[in-house]
């Protein structure tokens, strides 16, 4: 059974403008999915529907087979959630936050919580408002993982953190994944972190799923061709090429992304448009994201 299922999830905050537009995909146990998209693409809204914090106007969300807005307590006991704008009560101590979480979760793993407190060098008697942003996020992370959830929802967990804190965050996720087989859905603008953690990427664009594929597939079976100006290639000609996904104008040249290996993409351009391009290459995730998310043609 899938741990998390989005089925045609649609949500608008203003009439006629869908923040989420028929989003469908699911996550299997132990699967790690990177949720990509530009600001405003719908990532936060989608993750909040999985937490039951926002209800879709059409479509269904199911977590462990239940509706997270109805079976809220039962579902949340098996989920961990960290978001960039999450705030802990400022006037209470780290210890108190941990106590609160312990009382909420029957499966609380005291050894794991203690170990993480030590690893992050967090003083139990410190008040939340005395901590740095990174330390406060680490407290939130302990609260989100020490019950060894089956599903971890991370909404820009590293947003605003320095590189060291970000790496410590990743280390914790890597361990939890290996030890507990936790499924993870996480949104991030740090593509290198996504490469480290995710097996699969789902990319949202204007509230719709634009791409849903294995990360290694995206790295190996997709490519970008740079078509210099002067060849007279028009956007509509590009749309007729096999495997064409997106294109954008850069200076005098067109950047086109194909779901093909570079050799096949070059061959297609040669046969259909009648010229040679040697500038076809596979791309790291960050570059590929920019080409796809920035596509305007």
């Amino acid at each position: 059974m899938n741990i998390l299922e989005f089925h045609n999830v649609t949500r608008a905050f203003k009439r006629g403008i869908n923040v989420l537009d028929e989003v469908s995909f699911s996550i299997a146990p132990g699967e790690v999915v990177g949720l990509l998209g530009r600001n405003g693409a719908g990532k936060t809204t989608l993750i909040r529907t999985a937490m039951g914090m926002i209800r879709p106007q059409a479509g269904t969300v199911s977590v462990f087979g239940s509706d997270p807005a109805i079976d809220a307590v039962a579902v949340k006991q098996r989920i961990g959630y960290v978001s960039e704008d999450q705030t802990l009560p400022p006037r209470i101590t780290v210890e108190k936050v941990i106590d609160l979480h312990r009382s909420l979760y029957p499966n609380w793993d005291e050894n794991f919580a203690t170990e993480l407190l030590e690893r992050f060098a967090l003083a139990p008697k410190m008040r939340i408002d005395q901590l740095s942003k990174g330390q406060a996020r680490q407290v939130a992370l302990i609260g989100a993982v020490a019950h060894r959830p089956e599903l971890l929802l991370l909404d820009e967990p590293a947003g605003g953190l320095d590189s060291v804190a970000r790496r410590e965050f990743l280390e914790t996720a890597v361990r939890l994944l290996a030890e507990s087989g936790t499924a993870i859905l996480f949104s991030s603008h740090h593509m290198n972190d996504v490469e480290r953690l995710a097996q699969r990427v789902v990319m949202l664009q204007g509230g719709r799923v634009f791409l849903d594929c294995a990360l290694d597939d995206l790295r190996e079976n997709y490519c970008r061709a740079i078509i210099p100006g002067g060849h007279g290639a028009t956007p509509s000609e590009l749309h007729h090429l096999d495997g064409f996904l997106a294109a954008r104008q850069r200076g005098g040249a067109l950047h086109a992304v194909f779901h093909l290996d570079p050799e096949s993409a070059s061959a297609g351009i040669r046969e259909r448009l009648g010229f040679e391009t040697s500038a076809c290459s596979r791309l790291p995730l960050e570059e590929m994201f920019i080409e796809l998310a920035g596509g305007t043609i």
Partner: protein
Amino acid sequence: MMIHIQPGDDLPIYRQIMRQVTEAVAGGRMKVGDKLPSQRELAEQLVISHLTVKKAYDELEREGVIETRRGRGTFVAESAQLPGKAERLENLRPACRQLISKAWLSGVPFEEVLQMLGEVRDQMAAGRKSGHTARDERED
């Protein structure tokens, strides 16, 4: 052996691991029977998903470079061999490309590049005896 990875590199992470293990075996830094780190250890050390390490190890096992012995770990396999000649030649292509581009930008004709290659090789051969190349100096 130390494996290191670079997200954002031209190769996916599992391929980076595969390449380093293969090169370590081909270069003699790892020998038949040597033990590799466990999937969990390597995942924690590199801060990557253990599933990525598993994919690299599965592929290396399929290629016969490593083998898993139940309950004992993962080892360099008897069947580990040097990559074929074609692959070794192919590995040189990026360096050739770079050299030819540099020569062209400097206006050096291709024939002179070939001649220089011969000269450099001769210098290196001589240097190896008298300790004059950068590499030999490092090793001293």
